[in-house]
Structure formats: C-alpha cells, structure tokens
Symmetry: C2
C-alpha cells in the first residue's frame, strides 16, 4: 500500500475541491438525502455533485447517472449505496482518479456472514493499490468545520463551534454523543471523524494526519478495539508532547468484549492492558465519556499545571471539601501555602472559617475585591501549580464575578484555573461564557468534575513530558 | 429535651402561620434583606413580620423593634443578627412562644474559638428546655415549596419545581448545588433544608420528620460527619422501605477529614465505615453528587426493578457497549432474552447487527414502529427486570420518539425504563420532557449515567427489601 500517497490523499479528502455523493436522493427515508442535506446545511462552498442513476437534479443540483460521467475532476466521493454495488462504484472512483472515499454503507466485515469480510477484502485490495484512503465502511461520515465540509448523514453536526478539537471514534453513535456533548459544553471542534470498520484508515493513520493538521490542537479518541495497537502507539510516541492525545476505551465488560468483534470487526481486548500501553505511549486514557469531554474542554483553554500542587478556593466550605476529596483521590496535593499567602488570606478572612488550603471564602463570598485578592495571592504563591475555584450563587453574591477576568488575565498562560461557578439557569451563564472565551478559566457544572479534570490535566502533563521509551 | 414537643414544633416550623425576620433589612449587603426578599419572591401568603430596632417599614411591610412587641403570635423566627445578640433574641423568642427558629447567623461551634462552642451550648440549653427546634446555626435556611415558604437568603430557590424530593445538607453550599442541579434536571422538590451546625435538629430528627411529611416521597442527604450516627441509623431502620433514603458523604480525603471539625463542628470519620453502616440501615450511599441527583431523579418517576437483569436497547452499537460496561461493573446482569423475544427481534433486525442483549437497533433506528416493537417484546420478557434505552439523534431518526409514550404507558408501574435519548440542544427536549412528565421513562445525558442510575435503583431495591437486622 503506497502509504505516502494515502497520507497525501487524506489531506485532500478533508479539503476537497469537489464532492460527489454516490447514492444521492431526494427521498427523506434514504441516507443519501441526509448526506446531500448535510453538505448544503454545512454551506460547503465548493462543487457538490449528486450521483443517481435516475434523477436529473437532486435538491436543485444537476445530477449524474455515474461518477464516470461527471465533467471535471472529483476529489472526494461519499458512497451510500447498498453493499453489493460498492465494488463497482470503487472501480469507477479509481477510474475517475478520486482522491478519497467516505463509505457510509454497512454490511461488510461487521456482518455475521463471511461474504461481508470477503467483500471488504476485495475493496481494500482495490483502493490500496490505487492509494485511495477510505473512511469507513459503516461510518456516519466526516465533518471538517474549517472547510464547512459536512460529509455525513447528520446536518446538525454543522452546528458545532469551530475550533481545535478533533473527535475521532470508531462508533458513529459515540461520534454523535461526543459532538452533542461538545455543543452543550461549547467545545470548539476542528473535525468529527467516524472511522467505522477502518478499511485502510485506522486510528494510527488518522492520528498521524491530525498531528500535521494545522486546525487541530487536540485529539480525542473513542476506542473499542484496535487491530494494530502498536502502530497507534508508535505514532503517538513519535508525536509526544506535540498535541494532547486523550482517549476513552469501552469494552471492559465481558459482554462488550464478546460483541466487539461483531460490531466493529476487532477484538476489544483487556482494558487494563490497553490502558497501561496507551498511557506509556503518551495517550491519556480516562474512564467515562464525561471525563473525556471535560478534559478536552480544559485542554482547549488552560495551560497544563507544572506540578500536582493545587489550591482549592471555595466561597462555600462544603463544595470545597467535595473537591478536596476528588483532588486527593486522583493524585493532586492539597498544598500548604507560603507564609506570605497566609498573611494575605488572614488579613481578609476572620478566624471563624478554614483559612488554609482549602480556603473557605464564605465571609467575603459577596465581595469581588476580597475574593480577587485571595485568588491573586494564591496564584502568585510559588508552592501552588493550579487553582480549583468554586462559587455557588446566592442572591447576595450575584456580582462576585465582576472584574474577575481582569485579575486572572495575567495568569492565563501560566497556571490553570478550573472553576465550578454554579447558578440557577440563566444567571451567570453569559459572564461565565465570557470568562471562558477569554480563556482565563474553564468552568464545570459540579466541584467534582472541576477537581477531576484538574487531576487529569496533571496526569496528562506527566505523560507528555516523560522522555520517550 | 422534650422530644415530642420538638417534633411537633418542627411541623409548625415548616408550616408556619407567621414568620418574623429578626435582622430584616433594606440594605442589599445584609443577609436580612435577602431573607425578606426570599419570603416575598416565594409568595409566602401568610404573615411576614420584619424585626429591626430602627426601621418603621421594611420592603413596605410594617416593622417592629423587637419580637416581643409584635401583636399576635409568631410561629417561626428567622434570625440573622450577629452571634453576640443571639442569646437575647432566643430569650425573646421563648417569651413570645415561637414554635421554631431558623438561625442563619454563623460563628458558633464551627468558630476557631472556644467562646463559639460555649455560646452554642448556652443557646442549646435555652431552646431545648423550651422545646423549640432550631435549624442551624450557620445555615442558609429552609425552603418548603408546598407552603411557598422560602425561609432562606436565596430567593432563587423558589424557582424549583414543586414535588416530592427533600434535599437535606449540613452544608449550605451543597444545598445550593443540589438545588441548582435539581433545577437543571427538573427534579421536583418538596423541601430544601440546610442543617448547618445542628443545634438540636440533626439528620436523625429531620429524617424522622420527613418520613411523616405527606409532601415528601424521597429523602436526599449530603453528609460530612455525624455526631450520633446510630440515631440516624435507628430512624432509617425503623422506616425501612417507607421512603427511599439516599446519601452522599464527603470527607474521604485526609484534608477533608481534618477540616471537617472546623467547618461543621463534627468529625468526618472513615468513609468506608460510614458507607457500610449506613447501607446496613437502609440508606443507599453513592459516590458523586451527580450520581446522587441522578438517582433522585429516577426514584421520582420510576418503579424499582424486581431484579438485576437488564435489557440494553440502543439505536447505535457503540453507546450500547458503553452502557453495557457500566451495568456489568455495577452488578447488573446483561440477561439472555427468552426465545420468544429473540424471534420478535430476529424478525425485525437483519443479521448484520448484534440482535441479542445488548440489541443494536441500528437498521431500524429511524422507524418508530419497529423500535417500539423491540422495546415491547423486551418489556414483556419474563427474564428482563429493566430496560436501558439509548438513541443518539441523527436527522434520519428525528421522528423516532413519536408515539413512544403510548407503548411505554402500560409498563410505567412495572418495569423501569431509563433512557439516554440525546439530541443537539433544542431538538428532542420537549418530547423528552413530555415522556418524563408522563413518568414512562427517565432520561440522562450520557449512556453511562443512565446505566449507573439503573444499577443504583437495583442496589436501593436490595437494601430496602432486606429484612431489618
């Protein structure tokens, strides 16, 4: 397989000048309709060519009976016809010198039928010789927000905020889950990629591509099983420290292990072994989808902590204690502040509250200036690598976020501030959005999630700065 | 201490005919202003009496210089004056035959100062002799949504949806956290209660009261430490199976353990010991605030599963696998369906997908009738105690929830259906809200949270049906 050609063509696949939809349709019960709709909803500004044996036009765009009959070149083909027609379509794509294919059709290696595997092998043979990368089969597609390219069957994926996070999954369902979670948390996304049954583009190839992709700053993986974990680990190690690489792996249950073969055509394998091996290669594996997306959100906007010494500042004691528990469980140190920091805090807070780490800022919880003074003192403290900042709204402290951004600004590249600023719906939402856009803090809906993500930032920092094995 | 009188008076405290605010103010930097505002925002329809040595009127209501000067009886006093004035205020309350006190003021037992403890002991002596229950000191207050009584310093707590869940915490910050999480998840709440430093009303007393409260169906506790865990356990055992009692306990970390005394005046204690002891008495302890509120949400609207045998039905294979992992980790069995169920499913789904448990409903993911037929078959299956139902939105399956409620209706009292139906913001929200209001399913934002809550429902079922020790 001509690897260089495939990797060059992968760049074209994500940045095509022209896209053909083989199996385009106007019938809403056909995925070919939804793919056309995605390209148009996404406002893809380049050439869209529907291919359908019968139609003259589809959604107002001139249609062709075969890709062979299209005038001019076609960079990318999205294929959404029944499995038995796919080999012929692939031959036509090769004849047309298509650079990349997204194969949405299912029913290949994952089918409970040896013919499916045979068919997939035939396809692999064809495209590997031609040097054509194929995303799929059995994929929902790919989205490249930086090209307004929504080559999937879900137009709503174009609602994502454009940015630096690449979401890669072998399950289309999980791709959708990650994308909808990203929408909710306003995580800025570069690409959503469903690898499906990985004809010739597996995690290793896609990670290698994304490491070079100028729009991607951070790579998020959902794994079930890997045919060749060593290749992914090699690519990861080669790029250690270049861009964060974080993953969630399902398949811990015995049932999941059993069905993984049927779903994606690969063994899920022992999770503990994967965990350790992936971590060694610089991929941080976390253990829930929520933790995965939370970490992605923080990595987008926070510097990494230099060490594990956290300061916990909370406007209310209880939530601070809860954060404290999680920090310790996950390997952070609730550090002792310097004497200078203690002097500042003791000047501000009366002795009725806990004034060493974690700090109970209760007595000044409605006073922005005193709150900011405590935060500043702790950020300045050489003993402290990061801050978890917690405030629950009460009507008396409605204005406590005023001016907070200004105080945090000089620290935005230096020490991460993860917050859990929580109000009833609608009260602090805009202010928090502004603070997050300014990248001076990253906010989470519970103190536990804030604390956990800080621990994960530190774990990632350790992984990524380890010298390669 | 006259326990009977205290417990009778506790009912009056939550259902007062008249409320005095000692320390009421028109100054927005005083908590006394926010307490007045809470009573008025909450639309408390009975008598409100501001007490302030200087004012004639506060927020338009006639004010008195002392509670002693008020004409007619006062059922409840909310006290928000500095600590040193509190003994005198308590004497006046006793003189006035007040039935219950909410003591918001801080600076007693939790203060790093022996005078605080001494002051608290003096107060306890006074009110215990008089048989007056005191919520606090160092509390944000209490809210009884069924009386429109917001006796707290946070008016926005009146935004909660009225219903059957009592939220009890010794930390005001955590009370706010739980309340805001409940707002977000639309959990219907009966009362929000901040116990603070528990002068004479501790968890045991409040749980005993709530077990008799006709508006409360479910009790949620946030614990840091307990002075007398045995009393709470006794009350819990006495009421085993009457109303679900669920808890989260902080203080696992060594730091939290150390500061617990200073914050709430009691030792946090070894968490594992608490966990086991509380579970034995019928209180289910879960390990994150999110899990606690998720379980509360499910217990509001779901029947308990008769056993641990779950069916996992997912419109996409990957999210089904993730749910499967969590179910197995948490002690549920991914059960084998009956032959009859298999026949129904095999008639609907082609062999290219996984058709035994967990079921990959991918091929019919846009077809409401086929989806409903699979769900019905699995609900009917005698081998199955519960269903986890998962569907990620894609534009092709936009209408798949149509009519789902009708199919689930006959099962609403029989088998729990926990779902994770997930769309981009705004698409399925209304439909899901209707399904939840009809109590035919309970929905969560990730498959993992849906699976975890099902496991917790089963764990609670086991606890609550065990014969008392």
């Amino acid at each position: 397989m001509p690897k260089d050609r495939i990797s060059h063509n992968l760049r074209v696949l994500f940045n095509p000048a022209s896209v053909a939809v083989v199996g385009a349709s106007e019938k809403q019960d056909k995925l070919g309709y939804h793919v056309m709709s995605s390209l148009m909803t996404g406002k893809f500004a380049r050439k869209i060519v529907p291919i359908n044996p019968e139609a003259q036009k589809i959604l107002g765009i001139k249609s062709f009976s075969s890709i062979a009959h299209v005038e001019g070149p076609i960079d990318m083909a999205i294929v959404v016809v029944p499995a038995r027609f796919v080999p012929e379509i692939f031959e036509q794509c090769i004849g047309k010198e298509v650079k990349g294919i997204v194969l949405i059709t299912a029913g290949f290696k994952e089918a409970d039928d040896p013919q499916g595997t045979q068919l997939q092998n035939i396809l692999a043979d064809l495209v590997n010789r031609a040097g054509i990368p194929v995303i799929g089969p059995n994929t929902f597609g790919v989205v490249n927000l930086h090209q307004n390219l929504n080559a999937s069957f879900t137009p709503e994926l174009s609602w994502l905020r454009k940015g630096g996070v690449a979401l890669v999954s072998q399950s289309g369902g999980i791709s959708h889950l990650m994308a909808f979670m990203a929408m909710k948390s306003k995580i800025p996304v570069s690409k959503v990629i469903g690898l499906g049954n990985r004809l010739n583009i597996d995690f290793a190839e896609i990670v290698a591509y994304l490491m070079e992709d100028p729009h991607t700053r951070l790579i998020v993986l959902y794994l079930e099983g890997l045919d060749d974990p060593r290749e992914l680990m090699r690519i990861s190690r080669e790029n250690l420290g270049k861009k964060p690489l974080i993953a969630f792996k399902s398949g811990s249950a015995k049932t999941a292990d059993r069905i993984s073969r049927s779903h994606t055509g690969s063994l899920a394998g022992k999770n503990e072994i994967y965990d350790g091996a992936l971590r060694q290669s610089g991929i941080l594996v976390v253990h829930t989808m929520e933790a995965l997306l939370d970490l992605a959100q923080a990595l987008c906007s926070c510097p990494l902590p230099r060490g594990n010494r956290v300061g916990i500042l909370s406007a209310q004691a209880g939530p601070g204690m809860v954060a404290c528990d999680v920090c310790e469980q996950e390997g952070l140190e609730i550090v002792r502040f310097s004497d200078q920091t203690h002097r500042v805090i003791n000047d501000i807070l009366p002795p009725i509250v806990h004034r060493s780490n974690p700090v109970d800022m209760g007595p000044v919880f409605s006073d922005p200036a005193s709150t900011a003074a405590i935060i500043r003192a702790v950020l300045k403290d050489e003993n402290v690598d990061s801050i978890v900042l917690i405030t629950l709204f009460a009507s008396a402290n409605r204005d406590v976020l005023e001016g907070l951004g200004d105080h945090l600004l000089e620290w935005k590249q230096k020490k991460p501030v993860i917050s859990s600023l929580i109000s009833p719906p609608g009260i602090w939402d805009e202010q928090i959005d502004l603070l997050e856009k300014a990248e001076v803090l990253t906010n989470f809906p519970t103190p536990e999630r804030a604390a956990r993500v800080m621990a994960h930032l530190w774990q990632y920092k350790k992984l990524s700065s380890a010298s390669p094995a």
